[in-house]
Subunit: 210 residues, 2 copies
């Protein structure tokens, strides 16, 4: 195997986080394929593997997606003063702004799709569909982390689903679910921080904490 | 750290698969908490961490969920003769039947939830919501695999969302997204098999294969 992704699982999980500040250096095609091969190790409903991944590197397509991202981000900025800005949120905002400003220069962007129309009802259909793509997305993010590649999970450009479809020629029955910018990072992976696990775990009944 | 989850990432990804035949031996609470602590290392939209996990071990609750699962499974069996039964599908079906027949004896069942109502529209809202829980679900499955615990991602009992909510006392504004039976497996982890990656990857435009 050409790439060393043998980082211990626990270390990969505990240090995976969104790295949005990326160098413009290209990412090897073989590495992208290796990461996608790890992505599709994930489970999918009835093991149907109904996924499709579009890898975007061309500047023109990236510029179209950058515009979509920037439009939504401008709207978000209007509302920003309304939100409580903790230092953590402020850092995330700065990082998202950097990404919006440099979106055209992303070396590779992966768009995970489902080869189906996602019906919003019944709930079972919706959760089964999204549960058949996001596990693969998470595998991809973990593989990127182990490879030392910067990555992030974003959905904002999907505010205009039709425009994303047109940008990469997706038929109407193929649904783009999110976007993952990839590139060699200008930042470093550090341990991620979360609220204590016992605050989000109940036993037997909701709200019954340990 | 009490548990050895230091399996190389790539090995964990390549051998994770649904193991449904489980022993009845209990799973230590500390291990469950450790796996959930790995689950919440996953990303979530705006890092909001709006998740909640309910761990079910009581027999009475498990029996209620078992009934829900069996009801849906019976319906599924009616349609089974209509589907093309490859050997792989047949094995999956047998495994799902074993699970349905032994659901009451599952040692621990985890229900990952979102602390929100999931709006089906616009699409951006739906995909951002599910994209804030399934990465954590996949982390949990990978942690279980590294610990040697059998696990599977199921959604079928959610055909009756209200009944699942009542079984574990979820308020209406907390949405259960899937269920993960956990236990020491009667089977072994073996490499998962998937279609070749190049068949599901396009470059620049949909359908442009390498």
């Amino acid at each position: 195997m050409a790439y060393n992704l043998d980082m211990p699982l626990e270390q990969a999980l505990r240090t995976q986080r969104a790295l949005r500040r990326l160098k413009t250096d290209p990412v090897e095609e073989e590495l992208l394929l290796h990461l996608l091969d790890l992505a599709i190790r994930a489970p999918s409903g009835s093991n149907a593997q109904g996924w499709e991944f579009v890898v975007v590197r061309e500047r023109e397509t990236m510029a179209r997606l950058a515009r979509l991202n920037r439009q939504a981000f401008s709207l978000f900025r209007l509302f920003k003063p309304l939100a409580k800005m903790t230092p953590t949120r402020q850092r995330m905002f700065e990082s998202a702004r950097w990404q919006a400003d440099h979106f055209e220069e992303i070396p590779a962007l992966i768009i995970p799709c489902l080869k189906q129309v996602i019906w919003p009802f019944p709930f079972l259909a919706a959760t089964s569909a999204f549960g058949s793509i996001y596990p693969a997305v998470q595998n991809l993010l973990l593989g990127a982390r182990a490879a030392g590649l910067g990555a992030a999970l974003i959905t904002i450009p999907l505010w205009n689903l039709g425009a994303v479809r047109r940008a990469v020629g997706l038929p109407w029955r193929v649904t783009p679910c999110c976007l993952i910018p990839l590139g060699w990072p200008l930042e470093e992976y550090t341990p991620n921080r979360r609220r204590p696990v016992r605050e989000v775990v109940s036993f037997e009944r909701y709200g019954r904490r340990l």
